[in-house]
Structures are given as structure tokens and as C-alpha cells.
Symmetry: C2
Subunit: 405 residues, 2 copies
């Protein structure tokens, strides 16, 4: 009898976003005239920029002619893209990353999960709380999380690192020894960033303990402040302890276009094995590369027009962020994030619970947010607002919030 992976049976229902959707549609059904504005969505709304569109049309035409048709590409990604990444995302920051340390997958979400394949089941995993659920669920599936404790909303084998107001939403180094440490800066959901000193402490900890930092930097395009590191490899020692995940989803509106990249430095060894070689083997065996047309699209982001145009889109979302932050401030609310990130982490007023405030905002202002408790126990008493909406709708949502508070 075939046996299923028992760890899957331990997973609690994927509650957060489905419950948000359920409450919105229930409200909408009961109040058909309500014009609900969603500051809850983590998806972009602006179209792909002209330089990307042009590159895609050109690549589509290449695929339609025998002389220029491309079949299987390299599992790791085409050199034209890997070299552009090395040049424009790393060398430009004074960081040496070789193109064969870069792997191009369809999604940072995929790789944040799949990276677990090359690690043993017996690693101790540390995650932030609140946290992007993919880190937790994929480790639960692999058997590294132990058992789910319903009453605590936690898995008993994970180390949870609270990210709260007292530590500026940047986790403290745990007292326990962690083997695999997921960090995400700029952070989803809190919008917090780590300083150079904070990252240096993590890198030193990881090198000392032989840990591996799994560094999700999907939102780096939103960094505005000078001293915030854009990549963990700006920190000395990171090449021997960190894997970095990047995505074009938010950088260039690729959520429907699907392209990302993962950096596994050749200096990174554990158990006497080079993780770059293990990951290469994993990708060559279980993956077949990103569509040629999409890789051409990604490469177009690095052209002068692509850079200028994607920056304009980022600026559009940044303006939304500012509108939200200013409005919340006028309403006397306490919010963080929103400076180097497209996410605003709002403390609910009057110690309202996350879901209570969600309902309040939905009913009184017809604005949807995402309850912080859904991202982990330490998210209770917060909600996440996003800057990815239409500018006018965002302004209107903010005015409605200001009015009711």
C-alpha cells in the first residue's frame, strides 16, 4: 500500500487569505452597493513596462522561426540573464557574485520551498514571527517542524523569533542553536529592514555555528534609505553562510510572468559538501528552466529603458505607501514599515484584535486589510496594508480610514 507523507496531514487549513476572501465576499453579498477597496492584496496592479513587452514580442518571434527557435535552455538559466544579474544587481553594489552562482527559477516562492531538498530532515529551523507562511509550511511538509500546536498556532520543533515593536520588528539572535535561519528583508509582512550591523551579527552567528541563512530579498527594489543593505552579500562573511532569494515579481511586476533568481555561493560548504553543487544537481534533476521568452523579459529590466521604466512603477507604488503612511499618521495611528518596503504594518487602535479591526475597517470604511495574526502569533494586534493598488483608490481608502478614526 502506497503511504502518503504524513507531515501533510498535520498541516492546518490554509486559513488566512481564504478567510479574508470569505469575509470580503460575505460583506459584499450583504452590501451590494459597497465599493470595497483592497489594501490587502500582495499582488501588483501596474502592467509590464514597454521595454519588457518589446523584448517579449521579439523573443516570441524568435520562437516562431526555425533559425532562431530555442528548445531546452540551461536548467540554471541563460547566460545572458545570469550575467546581467551578476553585473547589475551585485557588481554595481561592489559585490562579486559569479554568474554560475546564480540560478534562475520560475519563482522565489518555489525556491524558498525547494531549497529544503538539499538539507537533511534533522536540521533545526528558525523563522520570524510574524512570517511569510511558505517558510513554515514547506518545512512542516519536509518533517522539520514537528507537530502543530493548535492552541499556540505554532509548530513544536521550529524556533520562532518574535518581531515586535520592542526590537523594531527585527528578530534577535535566538539562544538555541538554529541550523537553517529564514530571514526576509525588507520584510513581509512588517516592512521592516535590517541594518548592516544586525545582518553582520547574523552572518557571524551563522559562520560560528555552521548555520545557513536563507535570505529572502524579494522586496529590495523598495529600499530608499542609503545605509540599508540591498543584498546579504554586502556583509563580510556572507558567502560562507548565506543563500539569497530574489524575485522579479515586485521589482518589475512579474507576478504573472514568473521569474526569479537564487544565489548559492561556491564558498558555501556544509558537511563537506558544496551547496552550489547540490543545488545545481537538484535543479538539473527536478527543473527544466524558465521559458526563453520570460528570461528575455527579465533581461530587458536591466537595459537603460527597462531600469528607468521599472523605477517609475516602483515610484508609483512608493507614492501609494507615502499616502497611506501620511493618512495613518493624520488619523493618529501607529504604523511601521512603508519606508523601504511596499508593506505597512499598522498597530490596531484601542488594542483591537487583528480580525476585529479587519471587520471594523471592512464595515465602516469598506477597506480590506490583512490581519497580522494570520502571519503568526506575534502579528496579533496588527494588520498589513499594501501599496500595490491603484493610486486613486489608495487615496480614497486612506481618506475613508482617516474619517472613521
Amino acid at each position: 500500500m502506497a503511504k502518503v507523507n504524513q507531515n501533510y496531514l498535520k498541516l492546518p487549513g490554509s486559513y488566512l487569505f481564504s478567510e479574508v476572501a470569505r469575509r470580503i465576499s460575505a460583506y459584499s453579498a450583504a452590501n451590494p452597493n459597497a465599493k470595497i477597496i483592497k489594501l490587502s492584496i500582495g499582488d501588483v496592479t501596474r502592467p509590464l513596462v514597454p521595454a519588457v513587452i518589446e523584448a517579449m514580442h521579439k523573443a516570441v518571434d524568435e520562437m516562431g522561426a526555425a533559425e532562431t527557435f530555442r528548445g531546452y535552455g540551461p536548467e540554471q538559466g541563460y547566460d545572458f540573464l545570469r550575467e546581467a544579474i551578476a553585473q547589475y544587481d551585485y557588481k554595481s553594489r561592489g559585490v562579486d557574485i559569479a554568474s554560475d552562482e546564480i540560478f534562475v527559477p520560475d519563482s522565489a516562492k518555489s525556491d524558498c520551498g525547494n531549497i529544503g531538498d538539499i538539507f537533511g530532515v534533522d536540521n533545526v529551523v528558525a523563522v520570524c514571527d510574524p512570517v511569510y507562511p511558505v517558510y513554515v509550511d514547506t518545512n512542516a511538509m519536509a518533517g522539520r517542524a514537528g507537530d502543530y500546536q493548535e492552541e499556540l498556532g505554532r509548530w513544536n520543533k521550529l524556533i520562532y523569533m518574535p518581531c515586535v515593536q520592542a526590537n523594531g520588528f527585527s528578530p534577535e539572535i535566538p539562544k538555541e542553536k538554529a541550523d537553517l535561519i529564514y530571514l526576509c528583508f525588507p520584510n513581509n509582512p512588517t516592512g521592516a529592514v535590517a541594518t548592516r550591523e544586525q545582518l553582520k551579527a547574523w552572518v557571524d552567528y551563522a559562520n560560528k555555528n555552521g548555520s545557513v541563512i536563507l535570505y529572502d530579498s524579494a522586496y529590495k527594489a523598495f529600499i530608499t534609505e542609503e545605509d540599508v543593505p540591498h543584498t546579504i552579500y554586502e556583509i563580510e562573511g556572507a558567502r560562507t553562510c548565506a543563500i539569497e532569494f530574489r524575485s522579479y515579481s515586485k521589482t518589475a511586476g512579474f507576478t504573472g510572468n514568473r521569474c526569479a533568481y537564487t544565489v548559492v555561493p561556491k564558498d558555501l560548504e556544509r558537511d563537506g559538501a558544496k551547496l552550489n553543487a547540490l543545488w545545481n544537481r537538484r535543479q538539473c534533476t527536478k527543473f527544466n528552466g524558465v521559458p526563453y521568452v520570460v528570461q528575455r523579459a527579465a533581461a530587458a529590466i536591466y537595459t537603460p529603458e527597462g531600469q528607468k521604466q521599472t523605477q517609475e512603477v516602483i515610484d508609483y507604488y512608493r507614492a501609494n505607501t507615502k499616502v497611506i503612511m501620511d493618512g495613518l499618521s493624520r488619523a493618529g495611528l501607529s504604523a511601521s514599515g512603508g519606508v523601504n518596503a511596499p508593506y505597512i504594518w499598522l498597530k490596531t487602535p484601542d488594542n483591537m484584535g487583528s480580525w476585529e479591526f479587519f471587520d471594523f475597517l471592512l464595515e465602516k470604511a469598506n477597506v480590506a486589510c490583512t490581519p497580522g495574526a494570520g502571519f503568526g502569533p506575534s502579528g496579533e494586534g496588527y494588520v498589513r496594508l499594501t501599496a500595490f493598488g491603484d493610486a486613486q483608490a489608495t487615496r480614497e481608502a486612506v481618506e475613508r480610514i482617516v474619517k472613521i478614526l
Copy 2:
């Protein structure tokens, strides 16, 4: 200290295709005037058809305009594609597959590997010999294959099912109990197909023993004979024991475009769990869908023009197959496959070893093939030829082979 997945360290080097490439380039360097023709490639060479190209251009334009832009799509694939698959690939064969039993990934290779995520490590796995290496390597990575026995070229926990001349290259049902059984028809590398009766025996075995059949049907577009099943779900009882993998790579030249689909029937339960629900959870957690543009490309295959045009490409490759088969027959060689598949499985003459014949063909005819021994011990004494090349080059390669034999 982070621990790596020790199973990765047991994997032997990925020898076959790199060694083929090494020998070709060594020969080429020593004989710069030799015009080598590769009948070794498993990649298509004809461009995407006009209906697909047109659909892609249209979808690219949609992605460039705010009103029609698409962000995150459903992880399972868009309904327009899943419904087309259900209609044209199943209902047309008298088979009821609901669209929510269909999952659209980037690659059948990915899913053939990733499907292991939902199964326990303690399942007994059966594979054909010779075999597509992905089934073996991904199970080795997951710890289901045990240890690699260098001298035998086998893993000690896998059940190998010899596919040899005596059984028409269709495996016999093993005496041992197998929990997970990988079957691939039309077969890579032998080009063999299973009859309705043979598949029925597998389905009955699987239902009786609670096994799951992982049915790779990537080459079904090449079936020409009337009575050969196009999908395992044409066999009564398959809905309670089989998962089917399909790919557009060979059907429509999508090797560089990346789109496939996987069917997990809702009737398929093991350990009291519905595999459709487990796989859905896996995909929602570790995957984010195929690019919108690529899904539109795949859907265009099902339009009348798309059907006609892709059929023309299949016919082009089929004509190559016939050229190869006829030539080998004229040369007095024994070959199988090549009727319902783009692969020809050639018995080497004079009991030559696979690699010996590879060298012989390369040196005497400047034609490259793939040594059968690279697909497993039972492939020794065979080589694989493919029909995916240019028609004229294929004809020339065959003439050269005929001349030297």
C-alpha cells in the same frame, strides 16, 4: 551545524549526456571537417506554430496594458487551459476528467520529481530498466532508492523491471510488492507502447495492492496505431490508482516554452487521504503557476488552427522516424519503437557494446546516437535514435549509416 541531505551524496555523476557531449566535441576537435549529425538529441527543432505565436503576442500585449494585465494566476493553472485539456485531451477520448483534477506546472520533469513530496519515504518504488533517469534520481534524492551499487549500476532498494526484446520492451508485473510504479508509454528510450490489456493488468495490480501508478505520457501525440491507449484513464479502474503526467514539450515544441499538466483524480485515496488535495496543497505552497503568456500559448494548441499546425509538425517528425526505420531495415539492423514514438531503439550489430557502437557510428558515419546502457543495465547492447532533427540531415545520417553497415 546545518546538515545536508545525505542522499544527494550517494548520487553517481550525471554521466550519460555529458559523456555523449564530451565524446562528440573531442571527435569534432580532432576532425574539424567532420559534419556531425546528431540523432542523439531529445529536443525538438521545429519552431512554435503560428497559432501559438499569435496567441503569445496577444497575451504579451494584454500584459502591457493596465486593463488587461494579469498578476498572480491560480497555482493550478487558468480555467481556460484546464477546461481545454479536459475537453480535448480527455472527453474526446471518452474519458471524464474534471478540470479541478488537472494541474498545470512548468514541466512534466518537475512534476515527475515533485510528486514524491506527497508520498512517504518508506514506499517501495518500481522503475523500468532502461529508464528516464529523473524517476530514479529524484527517488534517490528522497531516500527511497537506498544505496547505489556502482558495479551493478543500480540502487539497492528500487525494483527494476527489465524491458527487453523478450517482453517486447513492456515490463512484466514484478513479483515483489511495489507501492509506487513509474510507467512511461510511449516509452522513452525504447519507443515501446503498452497494449490495453497490459495496462489493465497494471491497473488491476495497483488497485489490488494499493499501489499508485505514476504514468508518464509525454509522447502520446506520436501514437499512430488505433488500439493504443492515449491515456491510462481509458483503462477501467485507473481513476483509483493512477496519476498521469503530460507535456507540451514534444506535442507542440514547448521545450523552450515550458508547460505541462498533471492529472490527479479525486477518486485516488491512500492512507485515508485524497491525493488530489495533498497535491493541491503542495502546489499552492511550493509553486506559483505557469506564466500567463505561456498558458495562452498552450491553450492555442487546442484551437482548430493550433491542432492542424501542431499535427503538421508531428507529421514532420514522424516522417523522420520512417526514414530512420526504413534505412535501418535496409542495413539489415534490428530496431523497435519508432511507430508510436519519436524514439528508435536500435540493437547494436555484432553484439557491440552501447558505447562501442556509439564510437563506431561517430567515427565511421559522423552520426551521434545515445548509448542505451546510459538508461540502465538492460539498455546495454542498444542505442537510442531520435526523430527530432532536420529532415534533410536525418536522411543524410541514415544514408551514412546504411553505407557503413
